[in-house]
Symmetry: C2
Subunit: 232 residues, 2 copies
């Protein structure tokens, strides 16, 4: 029996195919770490010495360009494996992960991966499915950035956030973590100015409400209509 | 001994970690198929019943939007494994692959993958590295599309083509397969008109030469300077 209880991994799809005994093997190598809001979990270019499963909280993953521009690659939600660098043969992290709220993660040393896979072969398949899903997501964004007007891209980005981390509130569905207009700009390849203009227009139409660090979608169907309507 | 000779896989990185005996096991399940220029190898949304290794030729992989716009996701060069859908748990192909010149591929039934991985565990790791590399490439494109002016994106796209499939010729390095300005537009999220304007300007400066289906880069360093210089 490991120090961490098996049930901690019940909501982690990456481990769904493992037997109870295999989960014990995996957990025996893990420790849990807290990441207070604003702290960095790993840094772009840093040695990929750990991989992680998020248990609680939310992380933002960003890529920095040499010129210092930031692009938000994705958000990590509870139950997800992340920091998957050693698994794909990388020595360093390709991006930076930061806690956007107080978060808790399980952490494994990357050096444990080969042994874990040898003892639990289902892990390799899980990792493949995770990386494959991320690849699909990345290609969807390539297509959006290559073909869609900015308003549709912003609508798609918000709908994805709702799907990934939407929380029902009185006046609609809110993104369950702090998010700014600048974050949305960095997710959609546009400027803060443009995102502000679009959100203000949508607010006037009753589609969304946004405050400094909060976005509520009041009319998801209206947003969907914008996302899916190609400009003539 | 299988009908196909082991040496056929010498230049295939996906199989580099396999023993000779394992390669025989893998080859025993494969057949080779010719894809004349212009033919479709697999179609977006079609059942992912095969995976492939390209032995000769070049393929273009494109994604079609619901509105009928095309985005070139990547080109497949000899030695690459492609059509990796079953490996990442997909039932259908996420894109369409077409031969841009006469091509030859090894083809495996997707149903053979679980058995092959069970008998040759190194295959799972290979697949992870391949999908991970594609993910890195996709994120690079997301960042380019989100932050770069179109001229830099076109420069980056051409430099990548040279790296992946460049062939030395008298007056520079040419892309080793037929490629049109429209293809470049679909790789960089812009219009044929814009690509034509950029290539004409570069031609006037002696950086490139382009004909209907051919692009030669005369001055890779000059192109690199454009790709890496952020606009002030």
């Amino acid at each position: 029996m490991s120090a961490l209880d098996r049930s901690i991994l019940d909501a982690v799809p990456a481990f769904a195919a493992l037997t109870g005994k295999e989960i014990d093997i995996v957990l025996a190598q893990a420790r849990s770490l807290r990441y207070p809001k604003g702290t960095t979990v790993f840094e772009q270019g840093g040695a990929a010495d750990s991989f992680f499963v998020l248990l609680h909280g939310h992380l933002q993953v960003v890529k920095l360009t040499p010129a210092g521009q930031q692009v938000v690659i994705r958000y990590v939600v509870p139950g997800e494996m992340f920091g998957i660098a050693v698994q794909i043969g990388r020595q360093s992290y390709p991006a930076t992960a930061q806690a956007v709220m107080d978060s808790l993660a399980l952490v494994w040393p990357s050096s444990a991966w080969p042994t874990l896979v040898a003892r639990c072969p289902a892990l390799a398949e899980s990792a493949l499915h995770i990386v494959g899903t991320r690849l699909d997501e990345a290609h969807v964004r390539v297509v959006e950035l290559a073909t869609e007007e900015v308003e549709r891209r912003v609508a798609h980005a918000l709908l994805r956030l709702l799907k990934q981390a939407g929380r029902k509130v009185d006046d609609g569905i809110e993104v369950a973590f702090p998010i700014t207009r600048e974050d949305v700009a960095q997710m959609t390849g546009t400027t803060l100015h443009t995102v502000s203009r679009i959100l203000s227009r949508w607010e006037a139409r009753g589609l969304v409400e946004s405050e400094r660090q909060r976005i509520v979608v009041r009319d998801p169907h209206g947003l969907f209509a914008i996302a899916e309507t190609a400009k003539a």
